[in-house]
């Protein structure tokens, strides 16, 4: 093989590389390859020149000379094992693996670093040269960093080395050792990588994978503490509730919605909306109200004056009970409830769960000194009240508050230190059945939830006796009401949906009457499809152009179509048989 040997006496890139490779301990496959390549070179070349690092200074001059020769040499040598035999690639591999070695064996790294730098292409030579020069002098490799970062490959290597270092940095025990080694010529390259990282060694490097420690336990213990405190406070609260149920309704007005005119007179100070538009059963209402009062009472308290006196609390609760009881039927026809309802429904569960927390939190706060913070929040609540009170526009205010409240309530569980009064206040406003299960037994909540939701969504009849007729009837009508909203393709109000149900009711009556007439006209006592077809024809749906079968195919699913439209099957049979 013909090799363009540069004068052996002078330290060439090749020789330096050889030295580096020889000295480097093969750790990685790349290393092995590089060492192999180095060995190859040794075999191929005369290992006459074993240059020391002191001679690296001369490499700067040699680089330009030997670059091409080295490249040619590398290419010649590339026939063998490695896919890349150029000194450049070899050095690249070395550099990539250099940090690892540097951490463990600084000497090897030190040796490695200069050689790779030397052989780098011209673009990097300048930086490398500076590196080399700096190596023995331990100059700050400030120039290295930009020079290294400029080339794309350098970036990759940097990242890799940083990554490697980052991984190694995870082992803090090694860091001091590394730092100590870095004091010496821990390879300029490593220094370049290390320099920015060494100061960060104490901190978490950017590539750290350790997850941040979280104080999860604190929240759990806090919640438990809350529950304990609430449990202790619950019994006395309940005992007080029942006897006070006879509070006059006038005092309840605080909780009424702004648009509930008859009761709105007293609302301004504390605007607690009772967004229970759908008329609920009296029992359920009061039951829910009683449950609600606790939270609303708390909220009221906090919103008003903050002093957590149990007596005041209970009084508020009673008022709220009455307000809710009164507010429900009055607010059924208020506009804008529709918007609140879905929000309330959505927030209901969260609110309930959070109410429990809030309730317990409130108890804790009263006991604690957080009244100060509560008072700070009271102004907020007051401002909110002032803004919302006595205006229909309050509904819109409630909704964004409700949405923010959702976040608050959800966040409450996580951060117990949330301003209690404000979210409570908001929650009480929503008061959509904040069944805050005063005995904060979570078991109670789930039982309350379905009751509430079921009570809320379909309008329940007041008379329990007529319920069996109402519920399935309403369920069926709901089916068609949903179809209405589907066909309309536009948002609808809840009142409009109720109107649709009324129309459907009327329509069914008309339908039955007509069918009876038709059947009687045909002298039958059963209604047959011919009667229905006649009805459709009279309604103008079936014309000479549009036949019944067309309508059936258009609107009914396949299974029904098969039942209605006679179809011929094999064997000369028709289904349904005529």
């Amino acid at each position: 093989m013909a090799y363009n040997f540069s004068p052996d006496s002078e330290p060439t890139t090749r020789t330096l590389l050889r030295q580096v490779l020889d000295t480097a301990v093969p750790r990685t496959p790349r290393r092995a390859r590089s060492t192999r390549s180095g060995a190859q070179r040794d075999l191929l070349e005369t290992p006459s020149s074993r240059r020391q690092r002191s001679q690296t200074k001369m490499t700067a001059r040699r680089r330009s000379h030997t670059a091409t020769s080295v490249d040619r040499l590398a290419r010649v040598q590339a026939s063998g094992h490695l896919e890349e035999q150029t000194p450049r690639t070899l050095l690249k591999n070395i550099i990539l693996t250099a940090p690892e070695s540097s951490i463990v064996m600084p000497e090897a790294v030190v040796k490695l670093v200069p050689s790779p730098q030397v052989v780098q292409p011209s673009r990097r030579k300048s930086s490398r040269g500076s590196l080399e020069l700096q190596l023995p002098e331990l100059e700050p490799p400030t120039t290295l960093a930009p020079g290294l970062l400029a080339p794309g490959r350098r970036k990759q290597r940097l990242r890799l080395s940083e990554f490697q270092q980052g991984m190694d940095w995870g082992h803090l025990s090694q860091e001091p050792r590394e730092n100590a080694d870095a004091s010496s010529l821990t390879s300029s390259l490593n220094l370049t990588f290390a320099m920015p990282l060494q100061p960060q060694s104490v901190k978490r490097p950017g590539l750290a994978r350790r997850p941040p420690t979280r104080r999860v336990v604190d929240v759990g213990t806090f919640l438990q503490d809350l529950r304990d405190t609430s449990l202790t406070v619950a019994p006395p609260g309940e005992s007080h509730r029942t006897p006070v149920a006879t509070v006059p309704m006038d005092t309840v007005l605080e909780d009424t919605q702004p648009f509930s005119q008859p009761l709105a007179g007293h609302s301004p100070s504390v605007h607690h909306s009772l967004p229970c538009p759908s008329p609920s059963g009296a029992k359920e209402v009061e039951g829910a109200a009683s449950r609600r009062t606790r939270s609303s009472g708390h909220g009221l308290q906090n919103s008003y004056s903050g002093p957590g006196k149990p007596a005041q609390l209970l009084a508020r609760k009673m008022e709220e009970v009455e307000a809710i009881a009164m507010g429900l039927p009055n607010t059924s026809s208020v506009s804008g409830e529709d918007g609140i309802e879905p929000l309330q429904n959505g927030v209901g569960e969260e609110a309930e769960e959070s109410m429990e927390e809030s309730m317990s939190v409130r108890e804790v706060e009263k006991a604690a000194e957080e009244q100060g913070s509560a008072r700070a929040e009271e102004p907020e609540g007051h401002t909110e009240v002032a803004a919302a009170a006595g205006s229909l526009g309050a509904i819109e205010a409630k909704e964004p508050e409700g949405s923010s409240e959702d976040e608050d309530t959800s966040g409450r569980l996580a951060s117990p230190e949330l301003p209690p009064s404000t979210p409570e206040f908001l929650r009480t406003r929503r008061l959509q059945f904040p069944e805050p299960a005063p005995p904060p037994s979570t078991a109670v909540l789930p039982s309350e939830l379905p009751k509430h939701l079921s009570a809320r969504i379909p309008p329940r009849p007041r008379i329990p006796g007529s319920r069996p007729r109402q519920d399935p009837y309403k369920a069926g009508l709901n089916h068609y009401a949903k179809l209405f909203s589907f066909y309309a393709k536009m948002p609808m109000e809840k009142k409009a949906e109720e109107m649709v149900e009324k129309c459907l009711d009327k329509y069914f009556q008309h339908l039955c009457n007509d069918l009876e007439v038709f059947a009687a006209h045909a002298g039958r006592k059963t209604v047959r499809p011919e009667d229905l077809e006649l009805l459709l024809r009279r309604q103008g749906l079936v014309t000479d152009q549009v036949s019944l079968h067309v309508l059936v195919e258009r609107h009914l699913p396949l299974e029904y179509r098969q039942l209605l439209i006679p179809c011929a099957f094999s064997g000369n049979s028709v289904f349904p048989s005529q």
């Binding site: 589907f486 309309a488 609808m492 409009a496 109107m499 129309c503 039955c512 609107h555 209605l564």
Partner: protein
Amino acid sequence: MALSTTVSQRKMIRRKAPRGFLKRIFKRQKPHLRLETSSDLLVHLNCLLFVHRLAEESRINACGSKCGVIKKEHVLAAAKVILKKSRG
């Protein structure tokens, strides 16, 4: 029975006919009459078409009053027209 044929919407619209519900209504209204099984489906079809027309009319009313939401008044006005139409 298929609950929905090809409903590619956010909310699932049941295409199933509430046959029991319809029969119960008919029985409650006209206990002396009987409803045949196939006519049950046609009653459902009739209801669908009624609701469809009602929705269309309500939508027209709502758009006529330049309102993005269907309100009670729109539905009421539409119902008057459609009920008269489907009187038979």
